[in-house]
Amino acid sequence: MTAELAGGLGAVALFAVPGYGLTELFRTLRRQPLPRRLAYGYLLGVAAVAGALLALSHAAGVPLRPPAVWATAAAPALAGLVAGLVRRRRAGAAAAPDRQAPPAAIPPISAGPGEVPGRPQQHVAGIASLAQRRGGLVPVACALAAALICLGVFAEAVADPPRDWDGRMAWCTQARYIRAAGTVDAPVLLAKRWSISRAQYPLLLPVAQVAALEAFGADPDSHLPRAIYAAFLPALLLVIHAAARRGGAGPIAAAVATLAAAAAPFVIHGEGGAESTYSDLPLACFYGAALALLLGPRPRTENGLAAGLLLAAAALTKDEGALLACLALALGWRAGKARVHRFAAAAVPLAMALALFASWRAGIPNRQDDVPYLTLLQAGRFWPELAAHAAAIVPIVLDKMNRFRNWAGFWWMVPAVLLAGRRALGRPVARRWLVAVAGPLAIALAAYSIFPLPAYLAEVTWERFLLQAAVPLVVLLACALADIGRHLRPTRMAVIGAERSRAED
């Protein structure tokens, strides 16, 4: 257990440390509080390290072995370190004249010698002060609950080998073939005679698995790759929290992040959740984090670049990731010079990732058991089939969302909250988040409309598409809850919040 725990933490650090270094290059991310900066850092780290290894292996034939992995991880970490040192030196030089200023007045001592609190009182006061600094008791309680849930997922991940369906059928098996060959163009993938499922699926997460296993020389049966997937859960919750803070107040943002954490089938033990080795949770993180940067109020070019790296990762994570990345990019389009620069900065890494994916995929033959979506799409039966298949799909979709044992009424709550807080959904930014929610669901319906067994496909994939839409959906919930809060208690804070929302629009 100790070795697996250390290996799991090492695997997460392999991506989090370089990613944290990368956040130093992006002012908006650098200024985030530590947990949120770490979350963005982890996502950027997976994108940069695994993405670079994928590109180096395919385009330059660099073997996926420890020297390449450590060099790829060290480069962004060092870049961040240097950027941080330079920034601090500049800040120090700029602040030097202030040394001439008179020292600040010593703050008055409020408590007299007789009023010095005892140790227990100091602890209570310390906790109260911490809670106050964090925006009240609700956010602190939510943070503790979410942390415990994430810790539970991590504990399960380091204790057990993978037992999910797609993980063993496709992603982890591909990772083993790639690791053995030392290249993403492994002979098993290239030769059609060998049996492999989803041979043409994008390889970012399998490459991340290989990087972690190679970096630490881990046993092929090690649970270490599972820690990589488990770490996406806190990243998702922190991205949700960061994005939801713009829609609602701090307590509401914390509450909706906890809602997401509590929706266990959504993010934890359902197909695609954090306890699996599916790529849906990573895709949800990349898509949601990129949207949060692209729809943010400050149209900085550097935000566009960070969003572009995340969109590139989305495109290299799953087939539908490319479509979602293009949708997110389109949603980030706004007129104005700074906004166009942000858009262009996001488009470049995405275009490079799509070119890389197309080049790699061109050499991989499709296998018999893979779904020929492109062929089905070209058959041109999209619209008539959508109508014909609706009768089979809708009952399954409703049944899955209505299972109380799985969802505990999550999907009863969502429409009620969105309806009650619908005024908030009319804002321009909220309308973009609405389209972002619709993206994965539209892809799901399109797939069901052309697939020969739509009921089966809906049964096994619907919740995964819902998960992909998690960040925009929960952000909308935060907006709606903030609106409901304004109805129920129109305080000065709520009015300020409404004004801030309008200003951001």
Binding site: L148, G152, V153, A180, G409
Partner: protein
């Protein structure tokens, strides 16, 4: 900002459903997380023991035997002996990776030696038959597997 009665009812219903969801789902999620953490803290398993616990002892033992018999770069022929869609062949392929697998098909479709030889196009020495999840796979020399299929074909379909 003040709302009419329907609006207030809708607000109350929305807040009520949020509270209800949190009241039901959050304790479950926390309890589950606590269980996972305490189980992991108490556990002192090796990787092999964890595999045996999760995948089954017989299955894990059979996989280890096949791994010992087949070098990591030796390819094999994979036959699905369990019910279609049980996933057994996927799990065996995963556990035996990076050994390349050439999928032959369902065991029930291999009804005679001639038919089998047509399917065994790849010149590989070993055949692995996977069964339903948790059932141990079997390793055969190719010629023995062909003999076995021919013997079964002679005996008739009842002896499958």
């Amino acid at each position: 900002m003040r709302r009419g009665l329907p609006g207030r009812v809708l607000d109350a219903a929305a807040v009520g459903l949020v509270v209800f969801f949190l009241a039901v789902a959050l304790p479950q999620a926390l309890w589950r997380a606590w269980g996972e953490i305490s189980q992991a803290v108490q556990s002192d398993e090796s990787l092999a023991a964890a595999r045996a616990r999760v995948y089954g002892e017989e299955y894990t033992r059979a996989i280890d035997q096949i791994r010992a018999a087949l070098p990591a770069d030796e390819a094999y022929l994979l036959v699905e002996g369990g019910s279609p869609g049980s996933g057994g062949a996927y799990w065996v392929r995963y556990d035996l990776a990076p050994r390349p697998a050439a999928f032959v098909g369902q065991l029930q479709d291999l009804t005679g030696g001639a038919r089998l030889r047509r399917r065994l196009s790849a010149n590989l020495r070993h055949v692995v038959v996977a069964f339903n999840a948790g059932e141990p796979p079997r390793l055969y020399e190719r010629y023995r597997f062909v003999e076995e299929i021919e013997r079964r074909a002679r005996k008739g379909p009842s002896d499958r």
